[in-house]
Symmetry: C2
Amino acid sequence: MDQKTPDLQGPVCALPNKHKDKIVLGHGSGGKMMADLIKDIFYARLENPTLLAGNDAGVVELTDGIAIAVSTDAHVVSPLFFPGGDIGRLAVSGTVNDVAMVGATPLYLSASFILEEGLEMEILDKVVESMQEAADEADVEIICGDTKVVSRGEADGLYIATTGVGLLDPSIHIAGNQAKPGDQVIISGTIGDHGIAVLEARGELGFHTELRSDVAPLNHLIEEMLAASKGIHVLRDPTRGGVASALNEIARQSEVGIILDESALPIKPEVAGACEMLGFDPLYIANEGKLLALVCPEDADRVMEAMRKSAYGKDAALIGHVEDQPSGRLLMRTPLGSTRIVDVLAGELLPRIC
Amino acid sequence: MDQKTPDLQGPVCALPNKHKDKIVLGHGSGGKMMADLIKDIFYARLENPTLLAGNDAGVVELTDGIAIAVSTDAHVVSPLFFPGGDIGRLAVSGTVNDVAMVGATPLYLSASFILEEGLEMEILDKVVESMQEAADEADVEIICGDTKVVSRGEADGLYIATTGVGLLDPSIHIAGNQAKPGDQVIISGTIGDHGIAVLEARGELGFHTELRSDVAPLNHLIEEMLAASKGIHVLRDPTRGGVASALNEIARQSEVGIILDESALPIKPEVAGACEMLGFDPLYIANEGKLLALVCPEDADRVMEAMRKSAYGKDAALIGHVEDQPSGRLLMRTPLGSTRIVDVLAGELLPRIC
């Protein structure tokens, strides 16, 4: 794979020193603080080109001519159950999606559980049942696991770390550094549904919506997209940090400018309303069943058509395009014709959203 | 792989009902309660033959003729640093070892971190540095990772879940159900070192020893063993639950009786002394750098000789043998010539030992 070390030094100013001495919630937000933590500690200590490529999954050669993609995620979402899903469906879908986002076919999953003493067995059983349902939907097998128990007050109910292994066709080179000027930016559906649904489940909205999390495995959607086009350059699921953070990362990795069309962004009225009331920008809200695709201009229509035939892509929309400048930046064109910079998330937005 | 569903129904009597409704510390002990939890929830819900084989790693075919082994572990050891190691070295070694215990060559690791708000950055940095050192020693690469942050009181410092992927020579069939009457039982060194070293670090011994944890990656030792013999039937690392739990599991999986020779068990005086004072049986104490090998009788000497040339196998000892009866049982022959049943661990021994 032709991948280079991404420059994670974003445009946001330096953090106060106290954030450099201790872990704070913002280090898990998916934004600038997390990127700095990854750069300063993980990339610095674990230096290897696969990790430094900074994609959703690490791509490596297993043996002659056989490439695999491996991705891992810890899941700490609170509460464990929310409208549209639960930590089990989230754990399986999140890892399946990360493996699929480099164009690989997810096949096998591992699952490590950290259980808090006192957790109801019935809750664990429901979560594991939900994991199997999501695994069935994604056609993957959970082939190994581990269980640790910690005392009361040393975890919050249960955490699940999942890792996925997928097989990659060596002719596929989908990565964050592959975006090219002219590429069209497609989103598979409405943004912000997961984050707002979890807030509702926490009772933090202050009002009731019918909104459900979008959490879903997207590997079959991606199969349809790959069958429709060989011109898909980047795929990414805009989870923590939302669409804004994902596209900023791609702009930096590919050294291109990405220009979004604000009026084209698909947003449900409930999400728009909740964001308005809470002072959030939906571009930073987590999604768990959406993907961004950066596609060569000739194939964009064909890819969108293929996506719209799938349940998880029926609201696919063209939301922007790639230019060669300003390198490493995400811009938003407003309906009035003005343009503003959309930065990575600077601090902490919603802890334990996934 | 010729693997069958293990019968996890051990000989210990039924648990009180309250343990069936809620998670208690004993569910993480590596003994009977954990086996019941795995059977009742994980095996019941995630039914697939790879998982049900109950080996340290799941073995699957990735594509025609290419088999991989995948294993995962969450690490919650307390304290994070202890004589001879830390949670980072433990996380890498534990996963490398599980992959190697089916005869596979570990190649790639993933690492998911759950960090508690307030964790000192310096501690995280030391742990990650230690992970890289262990990865270098084992010749594996950490190719992907994830970081989640939870609020104070929702974790205890930091937890790490690691998953390993290894390549398996399809001619190798090392598994828990492959033990055969006549096999010799070899241990790679002294038992109980890790568990007692962690207790010392917790200040729970009440006296000082020079004991260090044995935590180490054993994949290179296993390479030497595999080069010396094609008659290695079972490999297992006796971690949580110790040698007694590991051998009980193998006896059940292979439907054989395993007879240990008490006087042959290598135990350091500090471990023997600590166990005597605390009322522990060293057979149930966790090891993190030891392996059990069940080897055909003709090759036992050759395998021991190969092991003793390696730093992690220099104290290798022949500690028992396999008979066809009593099926599913572990027996201990005492120096006086009597024989007693050694059961799996029934309750909770040492929480958060790994």
